[in-house]
Symmetry: C3
Subunit: 365 residues, 3 copies
Amino acid sequence: MTHRLADLAAMVGADLVGDPDRLIDGVATLEAAGDRDLSFLTNPKYRERARSSGAGALLVPKDLSPDTLHGLRADLLLCEDAYRALADLMTALFPAAEVEPGVHETAYVDAAASVHAAARIDAFAVVGAGSTVAAGAVVGAHSVIGRGCRIGEGTVLHPHVVVYDGSRIGDRVIVHSGVVLGADGFGFAEGAAASQVKLPQVGVVVIEDDVEIGANSAVDRATFDTTRVGSGTKIDNLVQVGHNAEIGSGCILCGQAGVSGSSRIGDRVLLAGQAGVAGHFEIGDGVQVAAKSAVFQEVPPGQRVAGIPAMPIAAWRRRNALQSRLPAMRAAVRGLERRVQELEAAAHSEAAPRADRDTDTGDEK
Amino acid sequence: MTHRLADLAAMVGADLVGDPDRLIDGVATLEAAGDRDLSFLTNPKYRERARSSGAGALLVPKDLSPDTLHGLRADLLLCEDAYRALADLMTALFPAAEVEPGVHETAYVDAAASVHAAARIDAFAVVGAGSTVAAGAVVGAHSVIGRGCRIGEGTVLHPHVVVYDGSRIGDRVIVHSGVVLGADGFGFAEGAAASQVKLPQVGVVVIEDDVEIGANSAVDRATFDTTRVGSGTKIDNLVQVGHNAEIGSGCILCGQAGVSGSSRIGDRVLLAGQAGVAGHFEIGDGVQVAAKSAVFQEVPPGQRVAGIPAMPIAAWRRRNALQSRLPAMRAAVRGLERRVQELEAAAHSEAAPRADRDTDTGDEK
Amino acid sequence: MTHRLADLAAMVGADLVGDPDRLIDGVATLEAAGDRDLSFLTNPKYRERARSSGAGALLVPKDLSPDTLHGLRADLLLCEDAYRALADLMTALFPAAEVEPGVHETAYVDAAASVHAAARIDAFAVVGAGSTVAAGAVVGAHSVIGRGCRIGEGTVLHPHVVVYDGSRIGDRVIVHSGVVLGADGFGFAEGAAASQVKLPQVGVVVIEDDVEIGANSAVDRATFDTTRVGSGTKIDNLVQVGHNAEIGSGCILCGQAGVSGSSRIGDRVLLAGQAGVAGHFEIGDGVQVAAKSAVFQEVPPGQRVAGIPAMPIAAWRRRNALQSRLPAMRAAVRGLERRVQELEAAAHSEAAPRADRDTDTGDEK
């Protein structure tokens, strides 16, 4: 959608330096942008790219130095929070397509399901008995909703989403392709002859409002009661959330992160990529877990942790730094042993004979 | 399904303390349970929650201390193995729904496929030529069975399972949504100009009886011969099993674990969450691999390993403990250097002059 | 397909030792091979298995020692590059099935889509408006192609692939089941009250020619511009590629590897299993990242790295070796403290009294 630059500036409260009547209808990187595109410069290290960019306009933070801005040919939008402004401008430039309501001729909706007239059910989708799909919701092609589910207002299930029986999805939720919600939790009891006896998984999954879940992620149903993903939480691709986990509001779970069964995760927690959290303890509000880390115990609110096992990030950095000094430390120990031996020999030559001492440097261990 | 408490006690050989005629029709956590629910207390640290629980009855291990049991208001079922009893009681309270046989009107079954009259094929499912689906099996909505496959008796494929040509699935297997069985193994030979030449993957996948496979996991077909998952093995979500892997019976592969091609894994092996096993060597029976660990070499039967690379868990714990002592060790080395220098200076002042010694503390390295 | 051994030898330029008229129609492991099967021996440690193998013919490298070849009963094909020869012979013995063109009666092709007469669209597949499917391409059962996509010549989408709007897939690409191409990147800006504001993801995904992508992997669309997977790159199962990543040609991404948004990966890069690469920096051509490693910074071309954080592999090995020597090093430090204390005591007894020294061994820290 095309906008005047002055209108875009007004939308996000930016100061405009340049032509208010310039027409903008796209957003692109500095390299790819043309004169009807908006681009952005937030990091001084990309200054040269910005100078040679063909972008019609650039979004820049107000606190960028004059030196960085020097020599830019594009019109400028100066903002307090460039990323937030970018999100808002992109939403204006690329408005979500209107949902065309209706049930596709090839979809299969059970007679005992209830689909709002303002919802859309795409090709080959299945909606089971007792399930409700609210106004403005989209059930993508091939998505399968089991029995007794609730799909909230304005929620979008992309193609190939599976929602098991009894799951409850809130409003304005976005679920990407390949996501599985409500599959059985991984719960077994030891049976005879070391065999595993399945615990029936009779709980449900609740996804609260404004959650987004990335492609091929899975959130298991609870053994009993509820596995819950709190409102506004954003989950990336290929993330695993185990049975009975409780994830708070406003969390960010990056790609391939894993949350074990019965974990309790507070609000605004960040799990970076490939991080893992073991079950049965509490991760406090605002905790940040570094990429590839593994949390094996409670973490108090606000703490940043890293490592396997995860520890406060300062301790992890210290440990890493010390490890890179190990070769020097070992050399120092060897040097000391030589010197002590010499001191002993000197003392020995002055005194009575004594037994040999252990001079192990650890090399043969 | 509703049961008298006395009947439930009899099913699992529990001692009943309380009202034999109490009716129970659910299972819930201590917090959520009502007076027709069964809950359980196995860990003394949840004693207070148990005391304030509204549960009608509690399952408790016989060896729980009288102190822990004191003050509980609920009726009690005292068992030898509370988890096993829970599994059995849940199976009684929540019996699996009867399979309604039949082929859904929207399903596509090839004329050369054979579906037992007592099997069910759900909406939009596809069954390819030469495949057989045995009695009591369920092929969920949208699941796709290739050509020449076998789906055993009582096996359940949830919606959106893909079974490539020639795969053989045993009896009473449960496969969750998004699972892919029999995709090509990841095998290439180096071609001209560093390009990769695909090795045709002409082997198969065999899933033995009583296996369960979690959402979005993948088991690749063999390059030739067979990739095998042994009977009774349970696989969690998002697990990868490479081509030609051989996994024994009664194993547990937790979420996001990975097994490389040509790995050989014994019986009753546990891979905890996000663990990985490299290929072409043997993991003995009963081995336990800790979460987030990476096994790069053979592990003898019964060993517990942890770390990257994985080592016996005692060694890994020792290594971790020593690492947390590195700052103190470094301080000790520095202290020693000072003291030795003083000793040397004292000796020097008594003797002939000598060259300076290395006093490297490792800090500049 | 059956071939004379002499013809197979000629195909790959192998020297034949044995019966040129032997008929071969399969490939199998040493254990499973029969007299019409080809097997192979490349590693001397499997010599005994080769001697007792029932294989009709064995593929062996020309440089295998006479000692290793001694006692083999099978006919031999001696090759320069046995793996490459195996790939070529398997392609001859197991030719890909001819694509039977046509649109399955149950598929749904939008009136504004363009499917080549020599392409195949399988059961329940969906092809959206404005998309083109080229000659020889296969869209597997249940696969969903969005709007405005391009599927190149001879490209195979196995069942249950999802391609979001606007994605461009090259020629001879193979995409396995459960793969999701072009889902929204994981991009949010901080909004009011610590909430997340979604950045519309308006870029695309480009998969170049001859790429293969394994089951349940995901490649996100770009925020703007392009997420690109270069020609000939092979991606295993459950791999995550974030928005705006640029992956070069001829790379190998093994199972469960993860590439963050905006990563730039050169040509012929290897990411071993469960490795991760953080975003916004460059991995040079020919870099090899060990299994389970995490790359947090730029890596120059040709380097092999390992560890969390990843470092040159020699440094990682040294660090590991030193860690296993930590117990001995600690013992050495304790020994030194004892000895220095004795030296000090001796000096002390000869001189004036002095204050006690720190004798911390680090144990209480």
